[in-house]
């Protein structure tokens, strides 16, 4: 029988074990999870469910309700109600996870404790960090997080998403919507462009002479040919995309006067969606698992942080190689990590890591496209081994089926994450 793997891999761990008071059999192995999003909620629920009582699992998350970023663009386009993006943690608690509604304020990797903003201290045997993203300060000159009230990012779903929608609805006739697109890497590679599609759809309905300007520091983006075809077909003349060769990479914003400077040239705008450069959620750096890039390198086979064998990092915050930062990826990584953590702490079987991702995007009503890939761990990184993408020129029936598939996926993955 596989497979109680007992390795003492560092002198530190050994000394700590020897010097600590030994109270045998009093506690179950403790796993603390920071962040109840796509990665964290999945790993907490799977750990509790599959360990069947052998692990003590705690999930730290400040919000009682999680609003999915995925499908938040469809809310902007008028295809979904805001409340349809809301998910609670009841089923996760029912699976046996202890919920702590608080913010993790710090991690002491040597003592193996998490400090809560509310003051408590939680000890752990294994810590999982899945805090999503934070924004890189100074990424868009002229914009700070405080300006998000005027120029929203709407890249963490919630009030920001509602604010952006309200601003679009309040645009003057024939007004200008501007998006400052993010540099790589960022969460959801097709996300900004799906958003452009959804805003275009909404404007076509209620403000057909309005225009959309996309300022992009990247030469290329995911599903570009599909989006360009769709914008041409459904929203002809409405969307203008400015890449780095035309100044899309030299952008400054002035929230006070609702102006955007494109390579020094002033442009007045009515709505400005600033999606800044991104990095791992701040708690990852506080735990000491990030590197100079701002993301947390992990072992491709397990999602264990390269910097600390007791910490796993999931989802957007991790630097794992080829997987895009998506809810699908975070959920996929969480299941591998849950399996690996159970193997470590309960001696259950350790299986090969399996990773996959598919990102659907909606371009117009019933015009859905998708991109997907499967991934395998190599010693260096999680590597893409096969990929596919929807084709330009597909017929309406296939695009409709793809859209309906995305609705099924949303129901499926939210049930898989939140129970």
């Amino acid at each position: 029988m596989l497979n109680r793997r007992i390795f003492i891999h560092s002198a530190v761990a050994a000394t700590a074990a020897l010097s600590a008071p030994r109270v045998l059999g009093q506690t179950k192995p403790r796993v603390v999870v920071i962040g109840g999003g796509a990665g964290g909620a999945t790993v907490a629920r799977y750990l509790a469910k599959d360990a069947a009582g052998a692990l003590d699992v705690t999930l730290i998350e400040p919000n009682a309700t999680y609003y999915t970023c995925f499908f938040s663009n469809l809310y902007l386009g008028g295809f979904r109600e805001f409340e349809s993006l809301a998910h609670g943690y009841d089923a996760i608690a029912a699976a046996g996870v202890t919920l702590v509604q608080d913010m993790a304020a710090g991690v002491d990797p040597a003592a193996r404790t998490v400090t809560l903003a509310g003051g408590g201290v939680l000890p752990y045997d294994r810590l999982v960090i899945s805090p999503g993203i934070d924004f890189v300060e100074g990424s868009v000159p002229g914009w700070t997080l405080a300006d998000a009230e005027v120029m929203p990012h709407a890249y963490k779903a919630g009030p920001q998403t509602q604010l952006l929608k309200a601003q679009i609805e309040a645009m003057p006739e024939g007004g200008l919507f501007c998006m400052v697109a993010p540099p790589n890497p960022y969460r959801c590679p097709p996300g900004p462009y799906e958003r452009v599609s959804m805003v275009a759809h909404m404007l076509t309905q209620m403000n057909p002479t309005a225009k959309i300007l996309v300022l992009d520091p990247k030469e290329k983006y995911s599903k570009q040919a599909l989006f360009e075809e769709g914008w041409q077909k459904h929203y002809s003349g409405m969307v203008e995309w400015i890449g780095p060769d035309m100044g899309g990479n030299v952008v400054e914003v002035r929230p006070g006067s609702m102006e955007v400077l494109i390579d020094g040239e002033v442009q007045k705008v009515d709505v400005c969606n600033v999606i800044p450069g991104q990095m791992a959620g701040a708690i990852a750096a506080a735990a000491g698992v990030t590197d100079a890039t701002g993301w947390a390198p992990v072992d491709p086979a397990t999602m264990q942080a390269r910097a600390d064998a007791n910490i796993y990092v999931l989802g957007d915050a991790s630097a794992q190689g080829d997987m895009p930062k998506s809810a699908f990826s975070a959920n996929s990584q969480a299941k591998v990590a849950a399996m690996a953590i159970r193997a470590e702490l309960t001696g259950s079987k350790l299986f090969p890591a399996k990773y996959s991702n598919t990102c659907w995007s909606l371009i117009a009503p019933e015009d859905g496209v998708k991109v997907g890939a499967s991934y395998e761990p190599t010693p260096e990184k999680i590597a893409s081994v096969e990929s596919f993408i929807s084709q330009t020129g597909e017929d309406a029936a296939l695009r409709k089926a793809t859209y309906e598939e995305s609705l099924g996926w949303y129901e499926g993955i939210t049930a898989d994450i939140f129970g």
């Binding site: 996929s332 399996m339 996959s356 190599t378």
Partner: protein, 238 residues
């Protein structure tokens, strides 16, 4: 919340890097490929920031590009025709081209006799791959590793249709397929007879059944893994 008192139970000794056999193989060693490129290719080709066409076309963004598609490069008729016939540069097509250029594109102007050794050729292809789209940013980009069916540990292989392994594998299914059998947009797979399931998975694997997501998912399952999934699903029927 709980106090800081730290109890160290025996499982703390398990603090260890989990070791699993890493499955896939990267294309090759890009560093060795760089040296090779320098020696064998750089007289005619440029790659990297600001690379321009020389005797040969610049090689940024090569993977995933149509043959003969770099603007303003005077390709041979033969290469231009291959491009319009649909030749796209992927790991497989580049591998064939670099091994024996004239065998793939008869009239190519590239005066290169080909690199017959598999190892160095893989290293060169790995080096070239680093200058094309990154899958992290553009998920549809060409793969960076060769797919391998996982090297299952003998302990796992020994078990015929291991339901526990199947349960783990099935967590990939439940990202889209709901366990309660709901089937809006995505078909239900609950209460699917095990035998039909096995046949369907093999049909996806061989691309007899259409659907890109399922072909991809099934394409990387070994026969043992399909058996494990079937064994797990059978336990659900009980």
């Amino acid at each position: 919340m709980g106090g800081a008192g730290r109890l160290l139970a025996p499982f703390a000794l398990l603090a260890a890097a989990v070791c699993t056999p890493a499955a896939a193989n990267l294309i090759g060693d890009a560093d060795r490929g760089a040296t090779l490129f320098q020696r064998q290719c750089s007289a005619c080709h440029r790659i990297g920031p600001d690379a321009v066409n020389r005797v040969g076309p610049q090689l940024n963004g090569l993977y995933g590009r149509r043959a003969g598609a770099v603007p303003e490069f005077p390709y041979s008729k033969s290469m231009a025709r291959m491009g319009s016939d649909g030749l796209t540069w992927t790991l497989e097509t580049l591998d064939a081209y670099v091994e024996n250029p004239k065998a793939l594109v008869s009239g190519t102007r590239m005066a290169y006799k080909g690199l017959k050794d598999d190892g160095p050729r893989a290293d060169l292809l790995a080096f070239l791959r680093d200058y094309s789209d990154r899958p992290r940013d553009i998920p549809e980009a060409e793969p960076t590793a060769r797919k391998t069916l996982p090297d299952l540990a003998p302990e796992i292989l020994a078990i015929e249709g291991d339901a526990e392994y199947g349960a783990y594998l099935s967590s990939e299914c439940s990202t889209c397929h709901q366990r309660d059998g709901t089937d809006r947009g995505i078909p239900s797979i609950t209460e699917w007879p095990a035998e039909d399931f096995v046949i369907a998975m093999h049909a996806y694997k061989e691309k007899l059944r259409p659907h890109p997501v399922m072909q991809m998912m099934a394409g990387r399952l070994s026969n043992e893994e399909i058996a494990a999934l079937a064994a797990y699903f059978a336990t659900l029927e009980e």
